[in-house]
Structure formats: structure tokens, C-alpha cells
């Protein structure tokens, strides 16, 4: 940023020390809780519950990670795989559905188009607690309790509305002439969509897909309501289940917290730029 030399004292203060102190404080505030959790996960039981508090692990150990991962009571590797499966299927299905719907809304003029967009926006505002009792009744009637399907279908209730909304934004930004000329050259709508539009919208679609994955990864309430067996729990539900077992074991629990944070943190680092676009294009839960 170019700034002319100025005699404004407020300006000089704001440009110099205030910015630096502010940035340090901001980063520290955002990261310190994670750092504390990381340190906790590396301590053994004695260091963890030492009085006075011991800040740094003197004998750092990975025992908590191994404990959490292999424990027979709270099988973290199983929770991890459950989450991976549920979120991946949610991601693929949501993306397929919303690419079609987003394309239709962006390209076709039909009666009720604005109303439909409004419905998609409004559904994002609905609280998910509202859906728990009715969905539970519904899944019980269909015999889907303790299945991956129940979790995946339930995830659609909050992923589909915002991914459709995001896809409409991406498709609208692609000039219409491109596919019209493709259609004159003999493509029908579907082949034009697959060959011309999808490659152009690919970055946006990828961002939408990853975002659907991340939101599904965070989902807790459906996961605890629609599963009863330990083996069917997702990461979020599993972490809560670890708290419910006897006294809280902060060692393995903190290891579990770190393990469930890493995948979404990595995915999000890739997403950042697209995310801001998606956020400002429409409202997003999260």
C-alpha cells in the first residue's frame, strides 16, 4: 500500500506499533487454545495432572495418540473411518445433485425460479435441532438407525441448500455464449454441461465439494441421535462419547481433538480464496 509521508500522529501510530501488536495478539488468541491442546496431548498422566501446572511436557510422548487410536472402548480409528466414509459420500452426492440444480437455476428461466432460490436460502436458516425428532422417527420407521445412510441423508438437509446456492453463483459467472455455440455445433444440453461448462466451473465445484466435506465433518447432533452403537459413531460423536465414558481422560481426548482437527485444517488451507467468494455470494452455515 502506498502512503504519502504524513504528520498525522494517529496515522503513524496505527501504521506502526498498533498493527504489529494487534497482529501478534490476534494470532496468539486464535492459536493459543490449539497450542495448549497440543501440549496436553504430548504429556503423560503425571505431567498432565501436576500441581502446580506444568506448561511444557518434559518427556513428550505419543502414548495418548496410540491410546486413543487403538482403545477398544472408544475405537478412534473406527470413528475416523466412519467420518471419512460418511463425509466422502455426502460430498460426492451433494456435489452431483447441486451441480445439476445449480446449472438449471442459473441457465433456465422457469416459473417459480425465484421462489426456489428463496427456499434454498431459507432452508439454510433452519436450526438442525428442529429436524432431530422428526428425522429420528422417519429413520426408525425406515429401519435406518445405526446405518451410514441415515447420517448421509440427514447431512443433505444442510449441505444441499448452500452448495446449490454456491453453484448458481459459479455457473452465472460463466458466459452463456460459450455453451450456446457448443449447442449450435451439435451438443445437447447435457453434453454441453459436461464438456464445456463443468471444466470451466471446476475450481468452484472443487471448493464447493470440499466445503460440503468439512461441514459434514463437523456435524454432531445427527450423528449422536441416529446412531446407538459405538462402532457407528463419527468423530464428533465419538469425541463426545469419550467424555461420557467414566471420568474424562484428557490425555487421549486431547489427542483425539488434534487428530480430528488436522484433516479439516489442511483442506481449508486450500480453500481459503474460494471460500471468501462463496461466502459473499450467499449465506453459508458454519
Amino acid at each position: 500500500m502506498k502512503r504519502r509521508a504524513s504528520t498525522d500522529i494517529a496515522e503513524r501510530l496505527l501504521a506502526g506499533p498498533v498493527v504489529w501488536i494487534g497482529l501478534v495478539l490476534l494470532t496468539a488468541f486464535a492459536l493459543a487454545p490449539f497450542l495448549w491442546m497440543l501440549l496436553t496431548s504430548l504429556k503423560d498422566r503425571r505431567e498432565l495432572y501436576a500441581t502446580p501446572l506444568q506448561y511444557l511436557p518434559v518427556h513428550p510422548t505419543l502414548a495418548n495418540y496410540i491410546d486413543a487410536w487403538t482403545s477398544p472402548v472408544t475405537p478412534f480409528h473406527r470413528f475416523f473411518l466412519n467420518s471419512l466414509w460418511v463425509c466422502s459420500v455426502t460430498m460426492v452426492a451433494t456435489t452431483a445433485v447441486s451441480v445439476l440444480a445449480g446449472y438449471a437455476i442459473a441457465r433456465f428461466r422457469f416459473a417459480g425460479r425465484d421462489a426456489l432460490l428463496l427456499i434454498f436460502l431459507a432452508t439454510q436458516m433452519f436450526p438442525s435441532v428442529l429436524l432431530i425428532a422428526p428425522l429420528l422417527t422417519q429413520w426408525r420407521a425406515l429401519g435406518l438407525i445405526d446405518t451410514y445412510q441415515a447420517l448421509i441423508y440427514s447431512n443433505f438437509s444442510f449441505t444441499v441448500p448452500f452448495t446449490v446456492w454456491m453453484m448458481v453463483g459459479y455457473f452465472s459467472s460463466i458466459p452463456r455464449d460459450i455453451e450456446e455455440s457448443a449447442m449450435i455445433d451439435g451438443c445437447n444440453h447435457f453434453t454441453a454441461l459436461c464438456r464445456i461448462v463443468l471444466p470451466l466451473a471446476a475450481p468452484g465445484i472443487a471448493a464447493t465439494a470440499i466445503f460440503a466435506f468439512v461441514v459434514a465433518w463437523s456435524e454432531l447432533l445427527f450423528a449422536i441421535s441416529f446412531t446407538t452403537q459405538t462402532d457407528m459413531r463419527t468423530l464428533s460423536a465419538g469425541l463426545l462419547y469419550m467424555v461420557g465414558q467414566y471420568e474424562v481422560q484428557w490425555g487421549p481426548l486431547s489427542a483425539g481433538v488434534i487428530l480430528s482437527t488436522v484433516p479439516v485444517a489442511v483442506l481449508f488451507a486450500f480453500l481459503q480464496r474460494h471460500l471468501i467468494h462463496g461466502l459473499t455470494a450467499g449465506a453459508v452455515k458454519g
Binding site: 497482529l23 481433538v257 461466502l279
Partner: protein, 309 residues
């Protein structure tokens, strides 16, 4: 179509082409519509129906139609009214603080410095991690005996003895709001940052030439230009915070003595722990009505904002 003769295809190409296009459009919408029908529309209708029945999961023999009975119960339920009040404290406490700190963060992250991309990503972290993780991290930080917050405050001489943050009725709400503020700052930061980046530099430069100081520039350029995005971000956040139950559910479960019970956690408790689906249904309908009125106001406001632009 391809088997038709050329002449008949030419005779009425326009109508059939438009009709076909329309049908294709609807066909593309079917999967998304089915998803929402099965997971949102039908459940909401089911919730409305549930609210009219005495429907406790483990008492199937008592299942019967009771009309507005659950709603009458709601009116005489002091916890429900308390939860509405708590929701207000929770929503406005969280959103106001998130906004102020988020705005400050956006202004900081807007500056040019080395490693800006990295700092932006790192400060975003609290917002993207699962709610249950946020809850557990803060539960551990607040832990009375081994929590680092008590320890730091005592070492700094700000407190003389350990405090049970989450199990004392006076402190619990403040404690969960603070954790939620930590989580929500990045949301405002990235929204407002996107807004800041859209403000043309020339405006600032011109104002500087005219002798406007940094505060005057902030008041007369930054704030008015950011107004639309501030309105949208705040409204979205208010609605979302009102709905959000995970964090409180994990940290306090609405306790101690309902001190942190907000309407959404109360609904969750009725559906998940008490298994009183009839009552949960009535609470859901109330939540839905509150949300719909919020959303209507929100849409009005955003429409107004768009019209201004």
C-alpha cells in the same frame, strides 16, 4: 427426435424446443428437490404434527392427540421463557463481540506484511474446526483444577482462588459466550476483509490529498462502503447463533441449573435426552416461527441493501 423427418422438425421447432428446454431444466432440479423434500420439508411437517400429540418415545401407551396441549404447557414452562431470555444474551453477546473483534482483525489482516497469507489461514482455524472440538478445547481451558485459564489469572494476580467457570451459574453464560466469540471472530474477519478489498485505493488517496486523517477516512469511506456486507454478515450470524446448539450442549449441557439453557439446546434436550417428541415438536415450531420472522426481516434488509448498491 433424430428419426423424425426434416420437414416436420422444421415446422414447429420453436415450441418443442422451448418445452424441451423447460423439461430438461426441471429434470435437473429433481434430485435436489427430492433431497430437500425428504430431509427438510417432510420432517418439518412431521414436527408440526408431532407437536399436536402426546408423544413420549418410551411411553407409547400414552400416545394420543392433544391439540394445542403441548403449546399450553410451553406457555406455563418457566424454563422455556428463561431459555428465550438466555438465547438473547447468547446471541447478542456473541455477535456484538464477534463483530467488534472481527472488524479489528479484518483491518489488521488488510495491511501489507510478510507472511500475510499464512497469518490469514492460521487465524481462520477456530472457525473451521468441528463445534465439539471447540467445546472440548474450552472445557479443558476452563477446567477448575488443571485448566490454564485459572492458572494464568492467578499467576497474574487477577484472582486469588480457582474458579469453576462452567459450573457456577453466574459465570457459565459468560464463559460459553467467550468460547463462541473465539470461534466466530474469523467469520466476521473474512467477510469484512472481502469487503475491505473491494474498496478502491483511489478513494483513500483522494481523501488523503484533501487532508482527511486516518479516522476521518475510516468514518467517511470505509464504514459507508462496508455497510452492505456488515448488514448481511451480522444478520446471517444472528440467525445462525440463535440456532447453534452444539457448543453449549458439549460444554455445559444447558446447566448449571439452566443458566446456559438456550431455546435450541432446550429443544435438543427434549428430543435427545427426555425423548418427549411432542414437546420437542412444539418447541421446534416456535423456533421455526422465530427463525421465519428473522429470515423475513433479513431478506427485507438485504433487498434494501441491494437496492442501495
Amino acid at each position: 427426435m433424430t428419426t423424425l423427418s426434416v420437414a416436420s422438425a422444421r415446422r414447429r421447432p420453436f415450441i418443442s424446443w422451448r418445452l424441451r428446454k423447460l423439461l430438461i431444466g426441471y429434470a435437473y432440479l429433481v434430485p435436489a428437490a427430492l433431497c430437500l423434500l425428504a430431509t427438510v420439508v417432510v420432517p418439518i411437517i412431521l414436527a408440526i404434527k408431532m407437536s399436536l400429540y402426546a408423544d413420549v418415545l418410551y411411553k407409547p401407551q400414552d400416545y394420543r392427540f392433544i391439540g394445542l396441549g403441548n403449546y399450553v404447557r410451553l406457555i406455563y414452562d418457566p424454563v422455556f421463557w428463561l431459555s428465550l431470555w438466555n438465547s438473547c444474551v447468547w446471541v447478542f453477546g456473541s455477535v456484538i463481540l464477534q463483530f467488534l473483534f472481527g472488524f479489528a482483525a479484518a483491518l489488521l489482516l488488510q495491511q501489507a506484511f510478510h507472511g500475510r497469507a499464512l497469518v490469514r489461514t492460521l487465524t481462520l482455524l477456530p472457525w473451521i474446526i468441528p463445534g465439539v472440538v471447540v467445546g472440548l478445547i474450552w472445557q479443558w481451558l476452563y477446567q477448575p483444577n488443571y485448566g490454564v485459564i485459572n492458572d494464568l489469572l492467578i499467576r497474574a494476580g487477577l484472582m486469588s482462588e480457582r474458579v469453576a467457570w462452567l459450573s457456577s451459574p453466574d459465570l457459565a453464560m459468560g464463559a460459553v459466550v467467550f468460547a463462541n466469540v473465539w470461534r466466530g471472530i474469523p467469520f466476521f474477519a473474512i467477510m469484512l476483509l472481502a469487503g475491505l478489498q473491494a474498496v478502491p485505493d483511489e478513494l483513500y488517496e483522494a481523501a488523503e490529498v484533501d487532508g482527511a486523517g486516518v479516522l476521518a477516512r475510516f468514518r467517511h469511506i470505509t464504514l459507508p462502503l462496508l455497510r452492505p456486507i456488515i448488514v448481511v454478515a451480522t444478520a446471517t450470524r444472528i440467525i445462525w447463533t440463535f440456532n447453534y446448539a452444539d457448543l453449549i450442549f458439549v460444554m455445559t449441557g444447558g446447566g448449571p441449573a439452566n443458566a446456559t439453557q438456550i431455546t435450541s439446546t432446550y429443544t435438543l434436550q427434549q428430543a435427545y435426552s427426555t425423548l418427549d417428541f411432542g414437546y420437542a415438536g412444539a418447541l421446534s415450531v416456535v423456533l421455526l416461527l422465530v427463525m421465519l420472522s428473522f429470515t423475513t426481516v433479513y431478506l427485507r434488509i438485504t433487498k434494501g441493501v441491494e437496492a442501495e448498491q
